[in-house]
C-alpha cells in the first residue's frame, strides 16, 4: 500500500532527525518520521545503570572486526531520542583546524564547509538547546556567541583533579554542557546526582525529548514508532529520484512516499539502509564511487583513575564531568603521534556497570572488594581522554552475509586505528597518569582503550568521486535523498559530535527550507 505523499520523510527520531523535523515543520513542511525503536517518554528514564541498557540499540546486532572496534552495542541507541536520549550533554564546537585536515596535514579528508560556515548554526543551536559554560575561561574555544548559562558548579573531585593540571602547567575550564545550571526555557536546573547516563527525566539535560520533540509535535510532525526502514526505492521513470521508503512495522512491509527523504538513522544504520537499497539495475545510492560505508571513525578514548587521600565524593556532579582541557588540541602534528586530544575531567561515576570503578578493577575481589569499593566511593578521581581518529578508506561499514529476521542483511564494521593516532593516544594516556599523580593520587590506573562515538561512512564533499553527499548532505546523483548525522563527518576532531551534527543539521534545514 502506498500512502499519501509527504513533503519530507525522516528516518530516525534521534538527535539529528528530531531537530530537522522540528525546523522543517516549523518552516511549513509536512514531516513524517519513521523510527525503528519504541516510543519513549521522560518517565522511562529510570535511575539505574542496569535499566539504562534498555535504551540501547538491541537488534539486529552489528558484527565488528579490527584492532579498534566501534563498540556499536554501547554507542548506539534506539527509540524516540535515539542514542541522544541518554547522552551526557558534552557540547563542544569542533576547532577550525578540524575542517581542513588533509589540506593542512596531508592525512584524512577535508570538509566541504569550514568552521565559519557553521558558526551561525552553532550559535543558534546553543541558544535553542541551552548550554552552560564559561567562554572566556575556555581559552581554546573557537569564535562564537558566549554560552547562554553560567557553568555548572564544581564539586570536590574536580577541585582535586584541577591541581594535577595546574601542577603540570596545564589549564582547565568548566566543561561546556547542554545541562541547565539555572532554569532555562521552562526546564529546571540540574540536581547533580550523576544519573545522566541512565537518562535525565527532569529536563535539565537537553536530550531530544525536551528540546526538539515538543517543538516537532507542536508543528505537526507525525512519528511512526517500531517502523524499521529497510531501503529506499528509486523512481522507475527517473532513477536519480527516490520515490519512497520501504519499512517493516510489526511484521508488515509498508512503503511511504515523500518529495524528500532524509536518512538520520545514526552512522551504521544509515549506511546499512543505503547499501541495502541497491537493485539489479542500480547500485546503492551514494555508492557511485565506492565510497559509501568508507571512512568510518570512532574516537580512541580511555579513562584514567586515581585514589586520593582527600575526599572526592565521585557520585556528585554529572556523568559528563566538570572540567575540560584542550591545551594540546590545536597542535595536531606535535611529536609523538598525530591528532587532537581533549580531557573531560571529574565524571560522576557509579561502582558498577561497564564504566564503573568496581568493574574496571578485576584484580580486586573477594574480601578486599567491599572495603575497596567503600574507599573509592569517597576518594576516587577520574577523567577521560578523547583522541582524534583519522578517516581511512579501509575502515568501513559493509553488509554481512547474515540476514536478520526481516531478511535484511546485518551490518558489519571494520575499524583499525591508524598507527599515528594510536601513538597519540598512548602518549596522552601516559601524560594523563602523570597528571593524576601530580594531583596527589596515591594509586593510579587506566581503563582500556575504547571506541567512543561513531562517525563517517557517508562523508560529505564537493567532489562526487571522493564523497557520498554534497555539502548539504544530498546524496550525489540523486535529487531528493539526504543523509543527516555524524555519518556525514569527513573528520572526527577530538570533540564529542552532537553539537556539530546539530549545527550541521541546522545548516541543512536552512538549505532545505530555502530550496523547496
Amino acid at each position: 500500500m502506498v500512502k499519501k505523499k509527504q513533503d519530507v520523510i525522516i528516518v530516525g527520531a534521534g538527535a539529528a532527525g528530531l531537530m530537522l523535523a522540528a525546523r522543517l515543520a516549523e518552516g511549513g513542511q509536512s514531516v513524517t518520521i519513521l523510527e525503528a525503536g519504541a516510543e519513549r517518554q521522560l518517565g522511562d528514564l529510570v535511575s539505574s545503570q542496569i535499566w539504562a541498557r534498555k535504551l540501547k540499540w538491541a537488534e539486529p546486532a552489528v558484527s565488528e572486526s579490527g584492532d579498534h572496534k566501534i563498540g556499536h552495542a554501547f554507542n548506539a541507541g534506539s527509540g524516540t531520542g535515539g542514542s541522544a536520549i541518554h547522552h551526557y550533554g558534552v557540547w563542544l564546537r569542533m576547532h577550525e583546524g578540524d575542517f581542513s585536515l588533509h589540506k593542512d596535514h596531508g592525512v584524512g579528508l577535508n570538509w566541504p564547509l569550514g568552521y565559519a560556515d557553521l558558526t551561525p548554526h552553532y550559535d543558534r543551536v546553543q541558544a535553542e538547546v541551552g548550554l552552560s559554560g564559561d567562554a572566556e575561561q575556555e581559552r581554546w574555544r573557537p569564535p562564537g556567541a558566549p554560552y547562554p548559562m553560567p557553568p555548572l558548579p564544581l564539586f570536590a573531585q574536580a577541585r582535586v583533579l584541577a591541581k594535577g593540571f595546574e601542577n603540570t602547567a596545564r589549564h582547565t575550564s568548566p566543561l561546556p554542557l547542554a545541562i541547565n545550571s539555572e532554569p532555562y526555557q521552562g526546564r529546571k536546573s540540574c540536581q547533580y546526582d550523576g544519573w545522566c547516563d541512565a537518562g535525565c527525566p527532569t529536563g535539565a539535560l537537553g536530550n531530544p525529548l525536551v528540546t526538539w520533540l515538543p517543538r516537532a509535535l507542536a508543528a505537526g510532525v507525525h512519528i511512526e514508532h517500531n517502523a524499521r526502514v529497510s531501503r529506499v526505492i528509486r523512481s522507475a521513470a527517473n532513477p536519480s529520484h527516490i520515490e519512497s521508503v520501504e519499512y517493516l512495522q510489526r511484521g508488515i512491509r509498508k512503503t511511504l512516499s515523500a518529495a524528500r527523504i532524509i536518512i538520520a538513522a545514526f552512522t551504521v544504520q544509515s549506511v546499512r539502509i543505503l547499501l541495502s537499497s541497491a537493485t539489479a539495475q542500480h547500485g546503492a545510492p551514494g555508492n557511485h564511487s565506492d565510497k559509501l560505508g568508507r571512512y568510518l571513525m570512532t574516537h580512541p578514548a580511555a579513562t584514567v583513575f586515581g585514589l586520593f587521600e582527600e575526599e572526592t565524593y565521585p557520585h556528585q556532579g554529572v556523568s559528563a564531568g566538570q572540567l575540560l582541557s584542550h591545551d594540546e588540541y590545536d597542535d595536531k602534528a606535535a611529536a609523538g603521534g598525530f591528532g587532537s586530544s581533549q580531557w573531560m575531567i571529574g565524571h560522576a561515576i557509579k561502582p558498577h556497570d561497564l564504566l564503573g570503578y568496581g568493574t574496571g578493577r578485576p584484580d580486586i575481589s573477594g574480601p578486599e572488594l567491599e572495603p575497596w569499593l567503600k574507599r573509592a566511593a569517597r576518594h576516587l578521581g577520574n577523567m577521560t581522554l578523547v583522541c582524534e581518529d583519522i578517516a581511512l578508506p579501509e575502515n568501513r561499514i559493509t553488509l554481512s552475509d547474515k540476514v536478520d529476521s526481516d531478511g535484511i542483511p546485518y551490518a558489519h564494521t571494520h575499524h583499525d586505528l591508524a598507527p599515528n593516532a594510536a601513538a597519540r593516544w598512548t602518549q596522552r594516556m601516559a601524560e594523563g597518569e602523570e597528571i593524576m599523580r601530580a594531583a596527589g593520587a596515591q594509586e593510579v590506573w587506566s581503563g582500556p582503550r575504547i571506541g567512543m562515538h561513531i562517525m563517517g561512512g557517508a562523508v560529505m564533499g564537493d567532489d562526487p568521486a571522493q564523497s557520498v553527499t554534497d555539502r548539504n548532505g544530498r546524496v550525489h546523483e540523486t535529487d531528493n535523498l539526504y543523509v543527516a548525522g555524524p555519518a556525514l563527518f569527513p573528520s572526527s576532531g577530538a570533540v564529542n559530535p552532537t553539537f556539530t551534527l546539530s549545527a550541521l543539521a541546522s545548516h541543512q534545514a536552512e538549505h532545505l527550507l530555502a530550496t523547496p
Partner: protein
C-alpha cells in the same frame, strides 16, 4: 521537569524485580527474594547455577545472597530484552544463552576437580585452566564479575552498603 516526575515523589520502592517460578507459581520478586525462596530455574540447570553462584560469591562476596543465579537465569529468559552486561560487550542476545551455558559448564567441570575455588579463580584470570573451552576464561570471568557487581551493588541497597546516596530521579520499581 514534568509535574508528575519529582525525585521525592518517585522514591517509592527500591525493588529491582523479575518474574520467577517458585513452587509452580510465577511471582514478581527480586533476585534476592527468588534465591531465598528457592526459585525453579527457567534456562540453566541447578548444577550450572550452583557453579555460577560459587565462583561469583568467591569474587564478589554477597552476590549469592543478592541473587546472582536468579538474576542471570531470569535475564537469559528475557531474550532480546536481556540486561546482562554482555549486551554492552557485543554478545549478541541470540547467543547469550550459549555464552552463559558455556561459562557454567566450564565452571561445573572445574569445580569437580581437586582444586580449591581460590585456585580455580586464579587459573581463570590467568587463562591457565587446561580444561577450559570457548572464549578466554579471563574474559568470561570479567563478564561474570560485572554481572555480580550489578546485582550486588547496582541497586539502592548496594549503594547503601557502600555509603553512597542513591539520589534517584525515578526509582527502578517495575520488573526488569
Amino acid at each position: 521537569m514534568p509535574d508528575n516526575v519529582t525525585r521525592r515523589g518517585l522514591i517509592t520502592s527500591t525493588l529491582i524485580t523479575g518474574s520467577f517460578l517458585v513452587l509452580g507459581e510465577r511471582l514478581t520478586l527480586t533476585p534476592a527474594e527468588a534465591t531465598e525462596l528457592g526459585f525453579t530455574s527457567d534456562v540453566l540447570s541447578r548444577e550450572q547455577l550452583n557453579a555460577i553462584e560459587t565462583v561469583a560469591e568467591h569474587i564478589v562476596p554477597g552476590s549469592h545472597r543478592a541473587g546472582i543465579a536468579a538474576y542471570i537465569d531470569s535475564q537469559l529468559n528475557a531474550g532480546e530484552n536481556s540486561l546482562l552486561i554482555g549486551k554492552y560487550l557485543g554478545v549478541d542476545t541470540s547467543g547469550q544463552i550459549a555464552f552463559y551455558e558455556n561459562l557454567a559448564d566450564n565452571l561445573v567441570a572445574a569445580l569437580k576437580t581437586e582444586q580449591s575455588v581460590q585456585e580455580i579463580v586464579g587459573a581463570l584470570w590467568g587463562d591457565a585452566l587446561g580444561t577450559w573451552e570457548g572464549p578466554p576464561s579471563s574474559y568470561m570471568l570479567f563478564v561474570l564479575r560485572a554481572d555480580a557487581l550489578d546485582v550486588t551493588y547496582g541497586t539502592p541497597e548496594g549503594f547503601e552498603a557502600l555509603g553512597i546516596p542513591y539520589m534517584a530521579h525515578i526509582m527502578p520499581e517495575t520488573p526488569w
